[in-house]
Symmetry: D2
Subunit: 371 residues, 4 copies
């Protein structure tokens, strides 16, 4: 058991605080002989990197990743850097800490934050930037996710912001290509344009908004998932809920499924290619009985509005006196935006883990091969 | 890693199929010296037991539990049966199997069920009653949950059905005492009366409905939860999502939090008793940064409508030919009803696990003591 | 983490006390589609069963095993019973308990036994027959080992008693065929004849002897083992040391290797068949760097003399008063004898686990396939 | 499951290769509020550091450790650096790699080394200095062990070399104070003087010697250990066997116990202080039934002679042709010497893990408190 690890066979252990010298992770169990360059990891980190638009925190962190172990190249590998099967350690140094910004919350608890609960649990907390509870930790997840994607050739994992505050996208306009064209990872160009104005106003008011993120994995073969307590959806639920500020997770129709009748919800089947059924709908989100069905795996999660806001909130001090807290520092007006690549990374890691779990128990009858 | 286990320090491993000789579980890591009688476990099982009203399956299973190990009594214990710290094995024999009911689905996949995915994964499935994928497995969870409750004196864990199909309770009428007075675990007496008619009609049509269950734990001390990947909410999400037919999990305001602004969502605090803050609201559902805050822990999960229905559905056979499936057998018109005690059991097991995890790393500064 | 489980992917959880209603295990992670009959498990249990000669305890336990879950047969399987990939629960009911034999040790600690330490740890102990600390628990290991053997076709795992008390076999007379012909699992017919007289005398004196067991696995392909902390030899060391009364474990030359020089110890190689090296010696016991080399895996472990003896020993009572303890009950004069099939079972389980671990990370390049 | 982690609640994950940029570890689960300075870790690393005498490798590595996370200090901590309960990442940069020394073994397998088995398992290996299989990895263990010692105040853990090649110390001269006065960690001053000449001769011959190390933990309270598969001795066996070149592990009398009779081996007891028994002997090495008895925990392990020797040995190339291998590079003539602080570190980590496991299941009735 490790509090700071997830996955069983593709196992990720992260470390580091927001204002410490460095953060990073160790990825253990990665198959050998997979080509892996730091630049591939960096490309994913750059999608999550702060300071790229006015809609994310202005902290300037290059998030430059360094591979400390687990890869090898020589003339036998044709100069390509390959994984060796040993643990891959990744390190990202923190550069732009402004710890003094946080001195005011040294002795007060920011409402909605983990300040009080860390202090209650451990009797000590690194208050600088939220310490270990900062969303900065998710950089390590994105780095690990970049490796997970290499374990899963043929699988496409994409995420999008489908709701900003109360404002939802129009599903009829959903376009994956649009996601990379706006600072919100929004798949609806009309919504993206509207959201810019909405979030600008919220930001100037010193307030914040929540969001809903949808992550879809296509190309997942049928058979991944390990019932009863390693169900693919259960592991996705845990993975997504572990992301900072997430308060809800859905698979497929999710909560809307509760309002359906049995006839509507049961995805009908007709004979398909290669001996597998063709599904006529995907209310199930690609998972039945905790095992992938071969359809796209669809997961959504809700992110609460950033708790760090400029509006004063009633709170208490460490010695239990009343105070008002205004969070200065540099913050995202909607942490949900940068949660999009994080959600993708978690999906990738969970699928890589389940691919290896499947291969262990059943062998190689899943449709793809890593490496 | 174990596919059929959950929890780390209060660890539950379940086994058994719907129509096999028996099902059960092994609970490992339970503290010693806790009084435990089979009757206490039986009382919880009886709440989940089928055949108690016309709104659940008519399969008649006494679900009589037998403790095979892990307890001891003699005159030194004053005749009380106490846990010894060794694994507690529980067994429930299956009595009322009617396997021939299922011969029709031997070679066809029921839409919405795990039939296809188990076959795709393992190349074999016990089709009788759904085999391992049957909700019958949840009896073992309820039995384990009864032990977990004994580890957590002072904590009250209660569940209720707050939505049946599209019909929600009126929150203003929420009354925990009402839950035990109707066959739906419904906390709203008006809704309960209406639901009886609604579900009768659905049942007679051979259809089914989904549901939303809410589970609340009161008396949880601040400090339980192990960030980053053993967060209390992440473990709850996994636990609830692992229950049959669950498609979504929320903590506190859940998906509704996405539509709030930062000022609304951040639960303000004022100085409280015993040096701990008094929270003015509980949008967070009692968990901040993955650690309990001392407020009630609030979790909701959505259950899809029962996939076993009498309405014919398009499907395929094992050899990929078109067929129509009608599920006979005996089924719950709303599996969400009996999911209420299951959700309570999962909450109890997760909290017991986190209590022991907390005690390991931090010692005994949590507010309660088992035994 | 589970105190009563071992293995990661072929995972065994045992339960039960010596004088409780039953003992057994749950085997999780077993691949599907492997033929498995209760009779195959029974055959292994019968090799370990007590009361088969005057050199083992006279307790009469049929050790009849019952498979509660995880297998399935119908006409599609040709009537053969196959594993389904779900957990396999096995139960053995206790039949011949004579708990009153142990009332004298209710309040005293038998020297060399776990009586004192269980009481010190848990504050309670099931003293009847040693409760959970009894070697009776090893029946569950042997049952699990029988399944593990089925996962590993082509591997031969055999054990032998190579030392009884101070008396060693003559290596020149080592004959595996001899092992089944005497009540000691002794591979040396001359030694076996001598040991009968020696152990008879010891038994009549109410004393006991220790032993050394050697277990050899042949047909293990190169590549099994997961460095650094899942080394094959480290897992074997843990598995063997967990057997009751074991005080030492060796791989290959073991402690004798410390006295060798580098030239002697390094097993030289010459080109072999199928592209693999041919080793000229096997000082390493088939494991290099924690990974199998393709040579026979050789493991030895030392069992201390049975602590339950008729000679009075100085001890204390639970309330810390001086007493003398004589252990009546029914006991093995040398517990090492019945440890032979237990050691084989642990070897089988460890290898099965590592076969699945290897298949997860590296794929199917190991030489054998289960099922 | 993690191949490169050990411990359950005090969990250590190591990474790094001999000639990569850095090695290190993440320690997860450490209790909060424990004072911890890098200098304390450095002091332990310096005991294991190479190049300190002519009897160890001449590679010059400062082994300077850097704490990347998990600690915090401010004026509230009185300037002391305290653990926070979050993962502690430690990094040691490699400085003195001479990778070209190893180009000769790029395509050949050194007998007795892991060269062949890594290649057979992974299809790739970092041959420079042995890559991941190098004993250089043990620096990370020693660093983790320094933290483990801080978790266990009142416990004294000491190791000594008790046998060099075939040469054993005289037990009558055993003196812990002597261990720090000679380059062998030898507790016998007469033996230490003799060993200098012996090892000089071996070194000049380009040969190597094995060794036996004894590690003793004093002050361990009764009750640590988690039967059946988390026994304290089983975990020690795994921990010690995982150290490079170890081929055998013993607890207490170990293999010698097999030659004793029951009367000799059962450590008798008499009433002791504080309600606990006083043991008249310690054949058991402080562990009964897998649980500590309160006596000193005694563990020995055998290290084979260094496989890297200057004497040519028959071997094969990667393409299965005959060759002779002479290992140049810089090597320890007896790797057992530097295994002494490594063995101590493993003992410390195992005990810290079991202390936390005990505290989880049973609470705080063990005799010491961390922090």
């Amino acid at each position: 058991m490790s509090h700071n690890s997830f996955g069983h066979l593709f196992r990720v252990t992260t470390f580091g605080e927001s204002h410490g010298p460095a953060l990073g992770c160790v990825v253990d169990g990665c198959p050998p002989l997979i080509p892996l360059e730091a630049a591939e990891i960096q490309a994913e980190l750059d999608r999550r990197r702060p300071g790229q638009s006015r809609f994310t925190t202005q902290r300037q962190e290059p998030d430059a990743v360094r591979i400390l172990s687990g890869v090898f190249s020589d003339d036998r590998t044709g100069g390509r850097q390959l994984t060796t099967g040993t643990p891959i350690a990744l390190m990202i140094e923190n550069v732009d800490q402004r710890s003094k910004d946080y001195s005011e919350i040294r002795d007060s608890y920011r409402p909605g934050h983990a300040d009080f609960t860390y202090e209650a649990k451990y009797g000590i907390r690194d208050y600088r930037g939220g310490g270990r509870s900062s969303a900065r930790e998710t950089a390590a997840r994105v780095a690990a996710g970049a490796i997970a994607r290499k374990v899963l050739p043929g699988i496409t994992i994409r995420g999008a912001l489908v709701q900003l505050g109360p404002h939802r996208i129009d599903r009829a306009r959903f376009d994956w290509d649009e996601v990379g064209r706006n600072p919100f990872f929004c798949p609806d160009p009309v919504a993206a344009a509207e959201w810019a104005g909405i979030l600008d106003a919220v930001r100037k008011q010193g307030s914040s908004l929540g969001a809903v993120i949808e992550v879809v994995a296509e190309g997942v073969p049928a058979g991944l998932g390990a019932p009863i307590y390693g169900k693919l959806d259960a592991d996705l639920a845990s993975a997504m809920m572990s992301i900072n500020a997430v308060k809800g997770v859905e698979i497929g129709d999710g909560f809307a499924a509760a309002a359906l009748r049995g006839e509507e919800n049961a995805d009908e089947m007709r004979p398909g290619n290669a001996g597998a059924p063709h599904f006529l709908a995907n209310h199930a989100g690609g998972i039945l009985g905790g095992i992938s069905s071969g359809q796209p795996v669809v997961c959504r999660f809700a992110v609460k509005p950033t708790s760090s806001i400029l509006t004063p909130r009633a709170s208490v001090t460490r010695d239990n006196r009343a105070t008002d807290v205004v969070t200065k520092g540099r913050h995202d007006p909607c942490v949900g935006i940068r949660a999009v690549p994080v959600g993708e990374a978690m999906m990738a890691c969970v699928l890589a883990d389940h691919y290896l779990r499947h291969r262990a128990q059943v062998g190689s009858n899943a449709a793809f091969q890593p490496g």
